[in-house]
Symmetry: C2
Subunit: 240 residues, 2 copies
DNA sequence: GAGTGGTCTAGACCACCCC
DNA sequence: GGGTGGTCTAGACCACTCC
């Protein structure tokens, strides 16, 4: 199970092993895990290394510890929308729909003051403006407009916009998206929104604004979305 | 700064010390911290203990690490709604309003099948049903109905319902609320909702359903809220 | 008292960054 | 090459739970 000659850290190997046991059902919610000292001896690793693996799993919500009693498998997290920081594509798949895209705008424009403020850049700096209709099983679900600093994220193409923006940013540019803030409000569809979403003028919609940030707080993008309220519920999980 | 004779763990003392430096502005976003080894020597503690403090602060979003370069102060988290798991009272204070309450129902009822399902108890088991109008600066902002298992949380009174439910649960019953899931949707106010919120019949509202859980996954409560959409935006922060 | 997790030490070597 | 964080060891003692 644990390979000391692997370049993969020992604590990470143990972490994945335990995660596997939980996901396979070999460990069920409420079950006690073998004590830390037992793992250490069994795999001939230090207890601190076992603790590092356990601590990670506790932070991720797989386990919980009770002092003096032991370490236990946590209740399965309910219909988890992956802590919230998901792309539209991931979100729709998790809900059992087939996601789709219709690109309706892909331009580089000078930043307006609102965009510049959100992205913490100067006015008139170049930004990508990408407007897409988001489909679920072929039906319009949302209207999404992304603003991304062209000086920070280079080499975006229509091709990429039709596939995975996040994938491109994280894999090809080696930038890690770390956090996001969202503001959600209810309102009524404007004429243009109604037309693109194929809903009635004035029908209820949810406006969602999302700002995403790198680990050092640099804004990566700023997204305005309009979801049709008759088909979309926003789900979020939180830990204290 | 670090007191070895204190019963407070060393890593925690260091953590609070650094957090203080950041909040006082003695350390600014982007600043590099002294290296781990320097802290270890300065306070005569082990490097592993320093790392434990740093790791916590990284997880809490105060710091970030770059291998080979150092540890840095993260950008200030934007208008943070405290990771989301806040009470109405905390939420309104953070937004600069004076929160208020108007209790309109406080009963013990037998659980309906919906309530039983959400709280994972049996049908007809006793539950508290607490209905309140939530005010901001004296104006109705939301309608909130809590369902709490009377067998799990004992001794609730109208008095407590008018103050702090969470406070009572966490302090007096020694139960830690660990996580929550929320579902948010847009709709239109029913006649009754409109009347209680003093808005027009059919005006846009946000329905928010929240389920809260203990660390082992036991459901603590189940809350249905109706917020008036003209005055309320839902804000949420997420980490990947 | 035995067993559990919580804290802590004093080292070690590795991987990565920058000069 | 020197400095940084990343991983890891083999112990130690403490606090808490349960019998």
């Amino acid at each position: 199970m644990i390979n000391k000659n692997s370049p993969i850290p020992l604590y990470y190997q143990l972490e994945e092993h335990i995660k596997g046991l939980i996901e396979n059902g070999e460990l069920s919610p409420g079950d006690a895990l073998p004590p830390e000292r037992e793992y250490a001896e069994k795999y001939q690793i230090s207890r601190m290394t076992v603790r590092q693996a356990f601590t990670q799993l506790v932070n991720e919500g797989y386990l919980y510890r009770l002092q003096g009693k032991g370490t236990f498998v946590a209740e399965r997290k309910i219909e988890q929308p992956l802590q919230g920081l998901t792309s539209f594509t991931e979100d729709m798949k998790a809900r059992g729909f087939t996601p789709g895209n219709k690109l309706i705008k892909f331009e580089i424009i000078p930043a307006t003051s609102q965009i510049a403020g959100q992205l913490k850049i100067s006015e008139y700096e170049p930004v990508y403006e990408i407007k897409r209709i988001r489909l679920a099983d072929g039906v319009p679900m949302a209207l999404e407009t992304n603003y991304i600093s062209a000086n920070l994220i280079k080499g975006l193409t229509e091709q990429i916009a039709n596939q995975s923006l996040y994938g491109h940013i994280e894999e090809h540019l080696n930038l890690r998206i770390e956090s996001a803030s969202q503001v959600i409000e209810s309102s009524s569809a404007s004429q243009n929104e109604a037309k693109l979403l194929k809903i009635a003028n004035g029908a209820p919609v949810m406006h969602i604004q999302r700002n995403t940030y790198l680990h050092d707080g640099t804004p990566v993008e700023f997204v305005k979305s309009v979801y049709r309220a008759d088909r979309y519920k926003f789900m979020i999980q939180m830990k204290r």
